[in-house]
């Protein structure tokens, strides 16, 4: 291969990135471990911690089961009714929760399910005395199903659409009824996807922070992530935070390993494209059943969005937009999101390119392979260290150097950049692989390198995926409350933090307006960030 100076520089830079990541995570872990030595770990696993662990696992299991049970009939209805008007909008709606900041979603869910919400008003009109409370396990489950049922349904729909078209004709020709088709055709396809989907949903629910923080409503319904936050922020009990953090790392590590070896990652594929022609689902019974599930899903997913929009519009938006506190929050949000997105995309691009350079060498030495492997692993092992754990480590590390709030922006930028890395990697890696296959040899044979290659070959070819990844990373960072919550103060009030404190001080109209603004910004960015994915996949 062409082991030019330029390639050596790329590899060195990627090594620096990897080293930086390891150092950042390692120092946080070391800080936690060093502190736990002082405290003595014996008395730490008290009742409280076990209760929190039990609740974490309980709510994650229930959320997973409910999300999947709901998603099966919904995905089946979407697959079976392939051409009703508005199907494409239904599919788009199902993709929407992905881009919504958890805090904004929580607000929308409270508008629908809360004490003053639509549901309770309806129930009261029916004569029910006792309103349903959204706070606690119930609210957490509703919120997790709101986020994960559409995700699971989309993954299942992709699986159902991969079934060969001949199967539908054969089953129609053989006269298989709705039940027989489910048993012999659909269920086998869904069953194969279940471990992957369930694992993913369980992982997301077990590490969920913002939703549990806002909807948990008390110590009875607290997960490990939230307990870490409370241990540091309210009780200032570092040993407990450390014990909880270790527990969290062990839990997520076990989950990640189990996922890696037990369940293949679910593929999205090209959904929403040309729907396969099916011959079942035409009978009035199945139309009625499918229609009922689709309406239910539409209401369940759509109403919170509608509620955010409606109550946001009622807020005094003009005053909010003019308010200095909002300006400051927007400024600090951007000041954090921009660098973190840039860092995330730059790191991902460098590491992907280096991985390819290393693996393209004809004679790969052991170090090369190890390095490439470490780069590949780093994007997923980031998930091992939840933001709150990283934040906790750095919180303890920086404490001796004075006011933690002074360093907070840098830590939050770094944490957000790391958290976005797996997603950015997913967007960039396939695009960069195709680009390299198309242009790599040609550029090398023409001797186009360095700045000129960037300017004339890489930027035009990769501009779209790079901007997509950037916009996605930006949305993630803008909507994030986790890292900010730990350090949040007057000096570091981002938009989600401002929203959270307005919710806490019962300034609901303000909160609704802010939620609408933040939700809109993040949704637009996410749509930009994922819009090209499908088109890209179809072209390839």
């Amino acid at each position: 291969m062409f082991a030019s100076r330029e390639n050596r520089m790329t590899i060195a830079a990627a090594a620096a990135c990897l080293g930086g990541i390891l150092l950042f995570v390692g120092l946080a872990a070391a800080a936690l471990l060093a502190q736990s030595g002082e405290g003595g770990a014996n008395g730490l696993f008290d009742d409280y911690i076990w209760r929190v662990t039990r609740f974490t696992l309980l709510q994650a299991s229930l959320s997973t089961v409910l999300s999947i049970l709901f998603s099966i009939p919904v995905s089946r209805a979407l697959a079976r009714q392939a051409s009703f008007p508005g199907r494409i909008w239904m599919l788009r709606l199902m993709a929407l929760p992905l881009g919504l900041p958890a805090l904004v979603a929580a607000l929308g869910l409270i508008e629908v399910w809360g004490r003053q919400g639509l549901l309770n008003k309806g129930l009261a009109a029916l004569g029910l005395q006792q309103p349903i409370s959204i706070y606690g396990l119930f609210g957490i489950l509703v919120a997790h199903v709101f986020f994960n049922m559409p995700l699971a349904a989309r993954l299942m729909l992709a699986g159902l659409e991969r079934i060969p078209p001949e199967y539908w004709r054969s089953s129609a020709n053989l006269g298989m009824g709705s039940l027989a088709i489910f048993r012999f055709v659909e269920w086998p396809a869904i069953r194969g996807l279940l471990p992957g989907i369930a694992g993913l949903v369980f992982m997301l629910c077990a590490t969920s922070f913002t939703l549990v923080l806002t909807l948990g409503g008390g110590p009875a319904a607290s997960t490990i992530e939230v307990a870490i936050y409370q241990a540091l922020r309210f009780d200032f009990d570092p040993p407990r935070a450390i014990a909880l953090s270790s527990l969290q790392v062990v839990l997520t590590g076990t989950l990640l390993l189990a996922l890696k070896y037990l369940a293949p990652p679910p593929e999205e594929g090209a959904t929403s494209g040309r729907a396969t022609r099916r011959f079942d689902g035409l009978s009035s019974v199945s139309r009625l059943v499918d229609g009922a599930w689709l309406v239910l899903a539409l209401l369940f997913v759509g109403l919170p969005f509608a509620a955010i929009a409606v109550s946001g519009m009622q807020a005094d938006l003009a005053r909010l937009v003019g308010e200095p506190a909002v300006h400051r929050a927007l400024a600090s949000s951007i000041a954090i999101a921009l660098p973190s997105a840039i860092i995330s995309v730059a790191m991902a691009a460098l590491m992907i390119r280096t991985q390819r350079l290393l693996l393209a060498r004809r004679r790969r030495g052991m170090p090369d392979r190890l390095f490439a492997g470490a780069i590949g692993a780093s994007t997923s092992f980031i998930l091992l260290a939840p933001p709150v754990v990283l934040g906790a480590g750095w919180f303890l590390l920086l404490r001796p150097f004075g006011d933690v709030a002074r360093f907070a922006p840098f830590v939050v930028i770094a944490i957000n950049a790391l958290m976005a890395l797996p997603f950015v990697h997913r967007v960039l890696a396939p695009a960069m692989a195709t680009h390299a296959a198309r242009t790599g040899r040609l550029a090398a044979s023409l001797g186009v390198g360095g700045f000129h290659r960037l300017r004339w070959i890489d930027w035009p070819g990769l501009r779209k995926p790079l901007l997509m990844a950037f916009s996605f990373a930006l949305a993630l960072s803008l909507g994030d409350l986790g890292a900010v919550a730990l350090f949040g103060s007057q000096d570091l009030a981002t938009l989600p933090w401002l929203l959270y404190s307005r919710m806490g001080s019962y300034r609901t109209a303000d909160a609704a307006g802010l939620a609408l603004l933040l939700g809109l910004i993040c949704l637009v960015l996410t749509m930009l960030g994922t819009a090209g994915e499908k088109a890209e996949g179809r072209r390839a």
Binding site: P164, P165, E166, Y167, R169, S170, S171, A172, N173, L174, G175, M176, G177, L179, A180, R183, F184, V185, P188, R277, F279
Partner: protein
């Protein structure tokens, strides 16, 4: 029993860019080769007969019965495609069993029928195997076994041998010909191979640009030189 197995009268199917019209009458008990260039409408013809596609106008009759408004399963028709005829996650016997009862409520006597049908296609004892472990030819034999237990008078074969090597094709042709002699059913066979036409067909339906342009007995068809598309298909240019 009517002597006409299949009749299409002025059947029209319209797509975004083209419109197809089918007119023909196929006598019962024949093997009819359906041939023509790609995109000439062969598969659409099958979809109309099997009920996967609803024509805008015209009349489709199988054994004298009007097919209008009848679901695919209610038609006296069995279909075999080029591939994916078997549900890959169900074993061979179950796949055949679906031909007896689409909800798989099978009596012990049905199990015997399945085993018997498998024996007739040369796959005795294959019942417990899964389709991915079979060769392409074996999978098509299982699909044939399923049509045997279904006993539908009209069998549509959409390039059933296209994915097989020449030796396997010859075997499958022989099997199909034997089964046809035993069953006395009517078979329509889409193929791209002149060999299949010469060895199997009693008559030929030739399609070009969405129309049936010729429907001849085999000898007459092979002797034809007046249609360019037919000449191209049979390679007659080189002969001349």
């Amino acid at each position: 029993m009517s002597s006409v197995a299949l009749s299409l009268k002025d059947v029209k199917v319209r797509f975004e860019t083209n419109a197809l019209t089918f007119d023909c009458a196929v006598p019962a008990g024949q093997i009819v080769a359906v041939i023509g260039p790609s995109g000439s409408g062969k598969s659409t013809l099958f979809n109309v007969i099997a009920g996967f596609e609803t024509p805008e106008a015209g009349k489709v009759e199988v054994l004298g019965e009007d097919m209008a408004g009848r679901m695919p399963a209610d038609r006296p028709v069995s279909v075999i495609f080029q591939e994916n005829n078997l549900f890959a996650h169900l074993d061979v016997a179950t796949n055949v069993g679906l031909g007896i009862s689409p909800s798989l409520s099978l009596a012990p006597s049905d199990r015997e029928r399945i085993e018997e049908a498998l024996a007739r296609v040369g796959l005795a004892g294959f019942g417990k195997r899964l389709p991915p472990r079979l060769s392409g030819g074996e999978r098509q034999r299982v699909a044939l076994a399923r049509t045997l237990v279904r006993h539908r008078p009209l069998l549509l074969l959409d390039e059933p041998f296209a994915a097989l090597d020449p030796g396997m094709r010859a075997e499958m042709r022989a099997l199909l010909s034997d089964l046809h002699a035993e069953e006395g059913n009517t078979i329509l066979l889409i193929t791209h191979h002149p060999d299949d036409v010469r060895r199997l067909a009693d008559s030929v339906l030739f399609l070009d640009q969405g129309r049936i342009v010729a429907h001849d007995a085999l000898d007459r068809f092979l002797a034809r030189r007046d249609l360019d598309a037919v000449n191209r298909f049979l390679g007659n240019e080189e002969i001349r």
